[in-house]
């Protein structure tokens, strides 16, 4: 079983941001490692505020880091906003857009490894596609309904980069984002 990736700069920033928002994360309480059906890598169970990691479908430490980041983004949204996960598909779509956008799911390298070749604005295509896939994995709705929800929220949610303040393309960007988060008191008191 891979480690939870708690030293990864993406994860460190998310954990700090959640603690700042009153949702300090406890490994034993907020993470569960399980065997899952299909090829799902993980999920966030909002009914019990717990991240599920699919131990049979996570390949290596880098994959683990990315899955933990993805699910922590959902947990962060749950912590900071009234997200109606179960009856408002636009809310679900928004969090899935953010998770695909900010976790590294759609990095150029990861898309190339999936044999998805595209350059100009391909990241946005990937974010839309993966958000729709994630919605369909947890909701019994048609692809058209999922796509409509993603289209309606995309402009707002693709540009919501909290808590990173930017799209963290790799660990360097994530470290800079964490530095900015730690500096936020100085920042907002001097602008």
């Amino acid at each position: 079983m891979e480690q939870l990736g708690l030293a990864d700069p993406y994860v460190k920033l998310l954990l700090d941001a959640m603690k700042h928002s009153g949702c300090a994360v406890n490994k034993e309480r907020h993470f569960s490692c399980e065997d899952c059906n299909g090829n799902v890598s993980g999920g966030f169970d909002a009914s019990v505020s717990q991240i599920v990691l699919c131990q049979n479908n996570i390949c290596n430490q880098a994959h683990m880091n990315r899955v933990v980041t993805h699910e922590l983004i959902h947990a962060f949204d749950h912590c900071r906003a009234h997200v109606d996960w179960f009856t408002n598909v636009r809310h679900l779509a928004c969090s899935e857009v953010r998770a695909a956008n900010l976790s590294g799911d759609c990095s150029l390298l990861n898309e190339i490894l999936r044999l998805h070749f595209g350059l100009k604005q391909h990241h946005q295509t990937c974010v839309r596609d993966r958000a729709i896939r994630s919605i369909l994995a947890v909701r019994n709705i048609s692809k058209e309904v999922a796509q409509k929800a993603v289209d309606e929220v995309f402009e707002s949610c693709f540009n919501d980069h909290e808590p990173f303040g930017r799209i963290p393309h790799n660990k360097t960007y994530a470290r800079y984002a964490h530095r900015d988060f730690q500096n936020r008191d100085r920042y907002y008191s001097n602008i």
Binding site: G22, C23, S47, S49, A81, D84, L119, N159
Partner: protein, 105 residues
Amino acid sequence: MAEGGGWQPPRPCEAYRAEWELCSSAGHFLRHYYVHGERPACVQWRRDLDSCREWEERRSAEAQRSLRESEQARVQAARKHGLVWAPRQSPPADWHLPLPQDNDR
């Protein structure tokens, strides 16, 4: 904000330098194009670095004004898109509670 009232640049000058260098790199050009379909604009980071250094050296009021305006513009740009959901005033009530005994999910 008064010039002598304990004001300092919102970021250390080293942070402006690091952002400008990252923005100007070939890797960032490629990643920005991959995301946005256009080349990145980096000149403002250079202006902010110069203003930061000018403040550090001469406590220039113009440098202070320029830095504050630049960062306010960044904050406004980040907030211009409306939110899909309502923000919470407090975290979810069950966040720190133990898991329910009946753990059927």
